[in-house]
Subunit: 276 residues, 2 copies
């Protein structure tokens, strides 16, 4: 039984006649291969990554599991289409709060075409990418049974300033998060979700240590997903907060050089979160 995912916050979505991802009820996420070289680049990354024995075990958990590719009926009913079969990283959460953060002040790789570079450069400059080293690409925050999810409009997210980003990172861990700009976020879940030895900050620091050393891949236009469930936190249980990396259509070989673009952006995000 394939269906459109409930909790997708960024990227191409299955709506308006577009082909989008699908999920099944056994925790798989089916991502349609994009046309042109992007789709094959992402398959190539997952294939190379999965078979690389130089990735430490504690780093593997930041990546969705890869189960190959499969031809399945596209979400728009237009016939069979090749899909990446990945782990559905939010399937184990009830009412997950999710933020998708694209890392790097630069989302293009040096070998890209001038046209592509100009397009990305414009987006990086108009968003917070250039200034902060990252930009928020999407988010949903679960409020309560009554209020449901707060999920700001894509256009709104596109225009986030540095100040907005600071506020949103606070709202993300607040019990009173809403579109209302008059409400001061209480950050009541900050210590559980961001803090602690299993919290998001600890996980980001682990990733950072790996990025200071690894020279295998450069992750352009890749996102950090931050996921947690407010239900668990409210019940006094662990937040189950997790960091995952997603979107590898623009990963290139590192050639013995660290990914200083990703690392710089990641350090900037860490600083923002550590200040909350």
């Amino acid at each position: 039984m394939l269906k459109v995912p409930d909790h997708q916050v960024a990227g191409h979505q299955a709506c308006d006649g577009m082909v989008g991802p699908l999920v099944d009820d056994s925790g798989h996420f089916y991502k349609p291969l994009q046309n042109s070289e992007r789709g094959s680049a992402e398959v190539a990354f997952y294939t190379s990554f999965s078979s690389n024995n130089k990735i430490p075990n504690h780093i593997l958990r930041f990546f969705p599991l890869f189960h190959g590719t499969r031809l399945i009926e596209a979400s728009d009913g237009s016939g069979l289409h090749p899909h990446l079969v990945l782990q559905d990283v939010v399937s184990s959460y009830h009412n997950p709060s999710i933020m998708d953060i694209k890392i790097g002040s630069r989302t293009w790789y040096p070998e890209a075409s001038d046209e592509y570079i100009q397009k990305c450069f414009k987006k990086d400059r108009e968003s917070t990418s250039l200034a902060l080293g990252f930009r928020i690409s999407g988010l949903q925050v679960h409020g309560s049974k009554e209020s449901g999810f707060w999920k700001p409009d894509k256009k709104l997210i596109k225009n986030f300033t540095a100040k907005d980003v600071r506020l949103i990172l606070r709202k993300f861990v607040s019990s009173n998060a809403s579109a209302d700009s008059g409400v001061d976020p209480d950050c009541s879940f900050a210590s559980t979700v961001y803090g602690g030895s299993n919290g998001i900050l600890a996980q980001l620091l682990e990733l950072k240590a790996w990025f200071e050393d690894q020279t295998i891949f450069h992750f352009y236009s890749c996102s950090v997903l931050m996921i947690y469930s407010k239900d668990s936190v409210s019940k006094g249980r662990s937040s189950g907060a997790e960091v995952k990396l997603v979107d590898f259509a623009h990963v290139v070989e590192g050639k013995g050089i660290i990914d200083h673009n990703f690392l710089g952006g990641l350090c900037s995000l860490i600083k923002f979160i550590s200040e909350i």
Copy 2:
């Protein structure tokens, strides 16, 4: 008694009728204020930096001491010209080996004019800045009494590839450094100069820790100088290896954001050096 410095490896030099820096015999370095806003920007930086009490003591030592500005006769004899009076960071060394490394994959700041951005962008792309997060701007390596200094031509340095950079960082700490590409650098000073608790690597890591936290300044187009004296090392004494930051004509306010561009490049340099 002012004279043209013996050991300048990068930047504007007092030759060909150009105004360049001067030194005196009490350890001062006189840097002519550049025209336009660059000169005043550098004065503004030193003034602001010197009076900022949030800079930790162990970080202050990475910056040349600032002694204000002074009107002195320009190096080309064209009359009085305003100069920055700085500490001459190499005056205490005998036959210093020096490398000037411009940090950051991007040498322009987001608020710069399009024309300036395009100019810098081209240089960053043609040099190793974009790929490595830093580029070598100049160097001199002392060989022996007989061979004197090896100081590659500026044009040669401009065309350094990633592979060249790796080689030069090895040559810099070798007893057999020379222009001869057939000679394999012996790296015989690597453990003393790069390594150890007072070595260059330890100093760069100290700087890195500060850059992970500081949000006061963004250092565009700023250089790390690495200095040591082979004479001392050969005699079994400490290398006196020092790291200094220089060139602050393009420092801008950090506005609460870390300098992820500098930090990323610095981490990349650290990785290169740690592999030697």
